[in-house]
Amino acid sequence: MKMLINVAESVVSDALRGMAACHPELTVDVENRVIVRRDAPVADKVALVSGGGSGHEPLHGGFVGRGMLDAACPGEVFTSPVPDQMVRAAAAVDSGKGVLFVVKNYTGDVLNFDMAAELAEDEGIQVAKVLVNDDAAVTDSLYTAGRRGTGATLFVEKIAGAAAEEGMPLERVEAIARRVNELSRSFGVALSACSTPAKGGPTFDLPPGELELGVGIHGEPGRERRAMMTSREIADYAVHVVLEDLPPDNPVLVLVNGMGATPQLELYGFAAEVHRVLGERRIAVARTLVGNYVTSLDMAGASVTLCQVDEELLRLWDAPVRTAGLRWGC
């Protein structure tokens, strides 16, 4: 598998050098792998820190900036970052109002952020955590690792980021983040596996004529393999699973998310089908975002995330945001 890289070992630091060079509005510590908004700590503001394995860009580094994250910690490709990074990030952004860790629900992310929270608290930083676990493809139970965090991470980071920017205290920012997660569900499909630099080839074999239903964002196979479906059928299936799990009684935010290699032309066609199904189900759409936001390297495919929003959440969604990956209003 050809890649636009130097060597597998340096992909993450090479990308961080690129972020540093291209985004003067960020402070990028390439060696310690922390991306911080330049004006941090922002006085009297709760700070948001997130992070996770690399390979999901623009998540999370591309979401650092006014109205969203204060810092992000990128791990190796598909490997959660280590506690040192998170503690360093928390220390860099804490204004004294406390730090919210936005953690996608993967064993690695959870364990490392837990350790970091303890260490940060030892340093006198007040830390709260929100766990994102929106993937409706995964059966949840007390006895399992639970659901994965996927597309809803963007909603949580954007909306809680806006709440922090408005000056809300840590408990409220945390409560809002939690609410956004609870009101969000996702479902993803893969038309191809992705290739990680370390492996140098596809993470699983997907024969021509078949697709994976219910995939996450780490190149893992999904819940089920089927004969290839049309955009219309995939939208029917994905939206059905999401709504089964959380039938909304409010308008929804819609994220039609590309996994990385699916052309925007296809994504918009898929978005049309998603809107069609929602219309048939009489679900009002408040806003839609279409693009590659929570990706899986060069995987072809897409995911749908719905988030029910009341007036407060919608106001926070619409609030100005200024990051490399998401920007409006300023």
Partner: protein, 210 residues
């Protein structure tokens, strides 16, 4: 070394632990591709890279810092794993070694019983941290049997054999923890990568004892 040879014959001093961790580093490096391959079937294809990166850091730190006791060696190794690996395996293996190291205190030479107790404390800590139990298709399915074997008076070779058997026994299991759990029924039929790396780490004890 036959599996009936008692573990007591070895001197469990600081160099022994140095040799153990260095041997573990060598074998996860040698088997990195296989571990990643296993992780690619039911995970995210990074377990080999993670282990290799972590144990390389362990070996380097041991060489550089030359800890003065078995306990210090394990704690140093555990810290390295926690601060260099990330993922699930970093904190889990890191906790295993750190907790075991703490249990050893600063004795300069330890008894097989002390080692067994320390490893049991480490494995228990892993179970607590990760919330997994034997049968969940994780590294615990190799680690628990190994500790049991030692506790029953078995040699390192017996422990290695038990770990390997435990690792192989994960193949038909349905994963309930870690990434493989997302696959549900489809996790069945694949060996757990963390159990495979645990078997390598336990087997490295026999090399250290040679």
């Amino acid at each position: 070394m036959s599996s009936s040879e008692p573990a007591v014959e070895h001197v469990l001093d600081t160099p022994f632990f140095h040799r153990w961790l260095t041997a573990a580093a060598a074998s996860v490096t040698r088997d990195a591709a296989r571990l990643t391959e296993l992780d690619s079937a039911i995970g995210d294809a990074d377990h080999g890279t993670n282990m290799q990166r972590g144990f390389a850091a362990v070996a380097e730190a041991l060489d550089k810092e030359r800890p003065g006791s078995p306990g210090a060696a394990l704690i140093l190794a555990g810290r390295q794993l926690i601060s260099k690996v990330g993922g699930a395996s970093g904190p889990l293996y890191g906790t295993l070694l750190r907790r075991a190291g703490k249990a050893l205190g600063d004795a300069e030479e330890i008894t097989p019983q002390q080692l067994t107790d320390a490893l049991r404390a480490g494995v228990d800590a892993v179970a607590q941290l990760g919330g997994a139990a034997p049968g969940d298709k994780t590294m615990l399915d190799a680690l628990f049997p190994a500790v049991e074997a030692l506790a029953g008076g078995g040699s390192f070779a017996a422990a290695a054999e038990a770990a390997e058997k435990g690792a192989l026994a994960t193949t038909p299991m349905l994963a309930r923890k870690g990434r493989a759990s997302y696959l549900g029924e489809r996790s069945i039929g694949h060996q757990d990568p963390g159990a495979a790396s645990s078997a390598l780490i336990v087997a490295a004890l026999t090399e250290a004892a040679r």
